[in-house]
């Protein structure tokens, strides 16, 4: 049961949605898949006067490739990603990530954009989208703007989106690349990440390394990226960047794992992840979806 009463609207256009949002400052929430929002409503973690359901706005459902840019609309669910040929062919890393999200019953409903809007530290989409060049497109009552994913996560459960804005889609650059998402869970199957590593590597040996569940927000490690930049992987290089891990993350101890364990295991995941990402770039290595930990 949800104790707090609220008004519910399901506008058919983006314009209508943003005006509804703008008219209720301080007490409005956007609803897409609802897998976070409904749970938060029940917990009284949020208590809006108005909930704006965006599921009737058709243009938010698109998955489309424009040159080397993959557009993923804000209503695209994790199941949609898993079942999309376009995503399989051009960004299999998104599929690898999506398959680790909770359970099919959640994935059928939860959206990737909702995942980064909720912005919990363990959100699976965070490290992967940070590892790609991703732009978040939002529309508000005064027009549209784009936000670099590197500026998106502003704090624990906080993002650069203002309250009167709706995310329309993500634009993800997908030139030839190899990638990996390594997620540590207590058991195979439904669980939140205790630690997660997202890596993308391009043919010019430009590396992108991001972490999830290891800081208040998903984070990129530009220091590790700089060390790797332009270099072929070898044991000495991998050892060097693994040694950098403790300075790059700020894990907590909770019921899932201690900070010490998280730090140690992140080094292991980075090591295996780097090797797999480079192998995949070369068309070899473990198939996407193979668990590395």
């Amino acid at each position: 049961m949800i104790a707090k009463e609220f008004e519910y609207r399901r506008p058919a256009t983006l314009g209508e949605a943003t005006h509804l949002l703008a008219d209720h400052p301080g007490s409005v929430r956007v609803l897409a898949g609802g897998t976070d929002l409904v749970a938060w409503l029940r917990d009284d973690a949020v208590a809006p006067d108005l909930v704006v359901d965006i599921k009737d706005i058709p243009e938010l459902r698109d998955i489309r490739l424009d040159g080397q840019t993959l557009h993923v609309g804000s209503l695209v669910t994790f199941t949609d990603l898993i079942e999309s040929d376009l995503v399989h062919d051009h960004a299999p890393l998104l599929v690898e990530m999506a398959e680790t999200v909770a359970s099919p019953g959640i994935r059928n409903r939860a959206t990737m954009v909702g995942n980064i809007c909720s912005a919990v530290p363990s959100c699976d989409a965070g490290p992967v989208l940070l590892a790609y060049n991703t732009t978040v497109h939002v529309t508000g009552p005064n027009g549209s703007r784009s936000i670099d994913i590197n500026d998106w996560f502003t704090g624990l459960r906080e993002t650069a989106r203002t309250e009167d804005e709706v995310v329309t889609h993500l634009a993800i650059e997908v030139p030839k690349h190899g990638g990996v998402y390594v997620k540590l869970m207590r058991y195979a199957g439904e669980d939140l990440a205790q630690a997660a590593v997202g890596i993308v590597v391009y043919p010019n040996l430009d590396y992108r390394v991001a972490f999830g569940a290891l800081a208040p927000t998903p984070i990129r490690s530009t220091a590790i990226e700089a060390e790797l930049q332009g270099k072929e992987l070898d044991d000495a290089l991998i050892n060097r960047v693994v040694e950098m891990v403790p300075d790059e993350i700020s894990p907590i101890t909770d019921m899932r794992a201690t900070a010490e364990y998280r730090t140690h295991i992140t080094g292991v995941m980075l090591r295996r992840g780097l090797v797999a990402a480079v192998e995949r770039l070369e068309g070899k290595g473990p198939e996407y979806g193979t668990r590395l930990i």
């Binding site: 049961m1 949800i2 104790a3 707090k4 009463e5 609220f6 008004e7 519910y8 399901r10 609803l31 609802g34 897998t35 409904v38 749970a39 409503l41 029940r42 917990d43 909930v51 359901d53 599921k55 199941t79 398959e99 909770a102 359970s103 099919p104 019953g105 959640i106 059928n108 409903r109 195979a188 199957g189 439904e190």
Partner: protein, 160 residues
């Protein structure tokens, strides 16, 4: 608010509040008690229903969101007798208290619909979000695998 929704093939007109959760409305207004209240936060799968053929957790859906959609619960797949899958669950004794059963049957139904011959790994993945406190899962997995195997007889993997 008026809510028009199809449940197990019947069209319903319901009067609900925006804060009403679909799980509660199904049980209280429609009367489909197979849909169980467990964790109410998306973790256990006991409230699983099919919405337009896909499993969703009805504890995480507002009733008003179901407007215009088609919902199926275990009652809905059993009108013309038990499905092949349900019979296999019976034969293999895959449940003890049965609290998890409706959710598991629907999750397995969705799996077999999309993947008529699943591997053990596929079954484990598909049921990972459905918790069972009694069986240890083995007989459940066995029953779903049997439903996927061609030698289990005609009708396997088909939805009624």
């Amino acid at each position: 608010m008026e809510l028009e929704v199809k449940v197990n093939g019947e069209q319903w007109m319901l009067n609900v509040a925006p804060a009403d959760v679909l799980l509660d409305v199904l049980r209280e207004h429609v009367g489909t008690k197979s849909t169980k209240i467990g964790c109410e936060r998306g973790d256990c799968g006991s409230c699983t229903i099919l919405m337009d053929g896909r499993t969703v957790r009805s504890c995480l859906v507002l009733a008003v969101e179901a407007e215009g959609h088609e919902i199926v619960t275990v009652e809905g797949i059993s009108y013309e007798g038990l499905s092949e899958l349900q019979n296999l669950f019976l034969r293999i004794n895959a449940f003890q208290c049965g609290f998890c059963a409706p959710g598991i049957v629907l999750s397995a139904t969705e799996l077999l619909e999309h993947n008529p011959n699943p591997t053990r790994h596929d079954v484990q993945e598909a049921l990972a979000g459905n918790l069972c406190r009694c069986t240890g899962y083995e007989p459940i997995i066995e029953a779903v695998l049997a439903a996927g195997r061609p030698e289990s007889g005609p009708g396997q993997g088909e939805t009624p």
